[in-house]
């Protein structure tokens, strides 16, 4: 079988990985190809801070909470090996701050050591009256994606630097299944009014004395439209904005100024930090992740497509859970096409 994956961000690469892991010994031959116009370090996944944390509330979307937890447990399992560094995975603790009491977040049972903030901790953050402390994970895209690509390359997966204009284009070359992981640009392959950009801008700062992430939540402004500070392995990511409908990938000096000023109020020691870089990216926002099969009719035979896009600001957070689910959907197709183990003899 030939599988064509569109997109080489964390979703595309991890889905290719899950499909390989589950089916390379079942389907023979299994050819996996990844097509993308952007590869690491230029994908959305690369620009993101790489912090594992879903939005505070899943709003009943328990499936997504399950996939988030699955991803956390998966990444956590690598910590006992020195390999974790090559993958860009490490533990980091920190603070979620709210201006008023709020219900516990949906990820409280996924992270480590979740607890309410003490009075003294709130004194450290004037203006915030409530919040939580926990230990979570970092998975830095600029390290994780190259690791994934090498993993895939070592197993014969081929990469093509090409912008795919339609599913039909790939089907015509003989792909049996197309995995659509085109993130923000899925709308170009198939219109999706539910998919919108959630523009973010961040600063990268040299402040190695900071070891905790600090995420503030302003329920009047919405997710990630208030300051956050996320130390990485080399630089600290400072944000943020979440501008729905804004397609601009240019850095805005207005946003820069606002982000920087608010962050310095939150963490006074930043005053002396050197700003190294600015970056803007478009979170592929959707009311829920689109993770489903679709048979697209073009001529007499349907094109089997598995969609896996619309992960908003939690792509790295949810990637493994979604990849495994996509692999499960792939398995259904394998069964239907009679390419499964029973078909071997």
């Amino acid at each position: 079988m030939r599988v064509a994956v569109i997109g080489a961000g964390v979703i595309g690469l991890s889905t290719a990985q899950s499909i390989y892991e589950h089916y390379h010994s079942i389907v023979s031959p299994l050819t996996i190809e990844v097509y993308a116009d952007k590869f690491t370090p230029l994908t959305t996944s690369d620009g993101a801070a790489g912090f594992w944390q879903p939005y505070l509330y899943d709003k009943g979307n328990v499936q997504e909470t399950k996939w988030n937890k699955e991803t956390f447990d998966y990444l956590l399992s690598f910590l006992k090996s020195p390999e974790s560094i090559k993958m860009g995975i490490f533990l980091e603790s920190g603070y979620n701050l709210c201006s008023e009491p709020a219900p516990d977040p949906s990820f409280k049972d996924s992270v480590l050591g979740f607890r309410q903030l003490t009075e003294r901790e709130l004194e450290i953050f004037p203006g915030y009256k409530y919040g939580w402390f926990n230990t979570a994970l970092m998975v830095e895209g600029k390290t994780y994606l190259p690791w994934l690509m090498e993993w895939l390359r070592n197993r014969g997966v081929k990469f093509y630097h090409r912008k795919i204009k339609s599913f039909k284009e790939l089907a015509e070359t003989g792909a049996d299944v197309i995995i659509n992981c085109s993130g923000m640009w899925s709308g170009q392959l198939q219109p999706d009014p539910d998919l919108k950009p959630g523009r973010g801008q961040i600063l990268k700062v040299d402040a190695p004395w900071l070891k905790h992430w600090i995420i503030t939540h302003d329920f009047t402004k919405g997710t990630y439209n208030s300051p956050y500070i996320i130390p990485g392995s080399r630089l600290v990511t400072v944000g943020g904005v979440f501008q729905v409908g804004n397609w601009s990938e240019q850095n805005s000096s207005v946003d820069h100024k606002e982000i920087w000023e608010k962050a310095c109020q939150l963490e006074p020691s930043l005053k002396h930090a050197r700003i190294v870089d600015d970056w803007s990216g478009l979170r592929p926002v959707r009311s829920k992740v689109r993770l489903e099969r679709e048979a697209i009719w073009s001529g007499e035979t349907p094109i089997e497509v598995i969609h896996n896009y619309g992960h908003g600001g939690f792509g790295l957070t949810i990637h493994r859970g979604c990849a495994e689910e996509a692999a499960r959907l792939f398995g259904q197709i394998v069964e239907q096409k009679g390419k499964g183990p029973k078909a071997r003899l």
């Binding site: 480590l112 190695p208 004395w209 392995s233 002396h272």
Partner: protein, 339 residues
């Protein structure tokens, strides 16, 4: 006419400079000189990781030890929250202290002074299969190679004078100074003939592992990982009565093995440097005053030494205590010294 009281502080480690700053800032009419043989980066304090938590000393009233710890912690916390933090070398640090056997004291006296102290959950302990119990909390790290120069600036701003000179006896100082403040650490063994002072040798490595964000310490105090501003300090050893300042290859190997067991990613870390320090240990720190007969004069001497491996942790608290003792001394001195 008001005559300035001449105070000399002997020692330029974290105890010496903390004490000198406390005195010069609180008592502007005192002319304070800090005198030492070694200065940063060559003091014992410079090599210390500088993570704050304490041990309990047997003979000092608990109330006083609690005050020492709290005063030090609050002082550094205020710096950590301010713009000065990077310039002073102070940062918040979260992590875990783990025990192979359940300790006698699960909630030590200092637990209320650090932040967010709680026992570790079972899931958290899973990462450490050799350990049965653990404590999670947030404390502070104070890096003396940065902090000492910052304190020196503060000291000079308050009018303090700094002199590089090895003091071999208190006699040498008795003519030039009205009060001697002794912060000479291990040097007190010779300087004031204190036979109770002894070294506890500690070896550490500094490695490049910027992905390590938490401290991990084994409750026995011999294995620890302390991420700092630009490197991670890993250690260690606790060799009592050992005066060797040279790096020991066997210790290096042991440290790497034990620390990698706790944090496997350290296997990939590049070693930047190695260092040995002698903790200026004593059954209890000596923070007290006495009057010494030197060259026919009665000279008040205030001692502040013997902090062992808890110098950074207790520096500000014991410095404030020492300031209190200096004030008491001034009260009792002849009317030349007006307050």
């Amino acid at each position: 006419m008001m005559k300035s009281v001449r105070v000399v502080v002997v020692g330029a480690g974290v105890i010496g400079f903390s004490t000198a700053v406390c005195i010069s800032e609180a008592l502007p009419f005192c002319a304070v000189t800090l005198m030492a043989d070694k200065f940063s980066p060559d003091t014992t304090s410079d090599g210390a990781a500088g993570i704050l938590f304490a041990a309990q000393f047997p003979d000092i009233p608990l109330q006083r030890q609690r005050r020492w710890f709290k005063d030090s912690f609050d002082h550094l916390l205020a710096i950590a929250q301010s713009q000065c933090a990077p310039e002073a070398g102070v940062m918040l640090s979260s992590g875990w202290q783990i025990f192979k056997e359940i300790p006698a004291v699960e909630t030590p006296f200092w637990s209320e002074f650090v932040i967010g102290f709680r026992p570790m959950t079972d899931v958290e302990l899973k990462r450490f299969p050799d350990h049965k119990f653990g404590q999670a909390f947030t404390t502070l790290k104070c890096e003396c190679s940065t902090y000492l120069p910052w304190l020196e600036k503060r000291f000079r701003k308050a009018g303090g004078q700094v002199e590089q000179r090895k003091v071999n006896s208190l006699q040498e100082l008795s003519n030039s100074f009205d009060i001697i403040v002794n912060c000479s650490g291990l040097g007190s063994k010779i300087l004031v003939g204190d036979t109770q002072v002894y070294p506890v040798r500690g070896q550490v490595l500094k490695v490049e592992a910027p992905w390590v964000q938490h401290f991990i310490r084994d409750g026995d105090g011999k294995t620890y990982i302390y991420p700092g501003i630009r490197s991670v300090t890993i250690g260690g050893t606790r060799q009592e009565g050992d005066w060797r300042l040279q790096v020991d290859g066997g210790d290096t190997k042991g440290i790497l093995e034990r620390c990698s067991r706790l944090e496997p990613s350290l296997n990939k870390a590049k070693i930047l440097s190695e260092w040995v320090g002698l903790r200026p240990s004593r059954k209890n720190p000596r923070v007290e005053r006495e009057v010494v007969q030197l060259q026919g004069r009665s000279v008040p001497v205030v001692h502040n030494y013997g902090h062992g491996g808890w110098g950074v942790t207790l520096a500000w608290g014991t410095a404030l205590d020492t300031l209190g003792l200096v004030k008491q001394t001034l009260h009792e001195m002849a009317p030349q010294a007006k307050l």
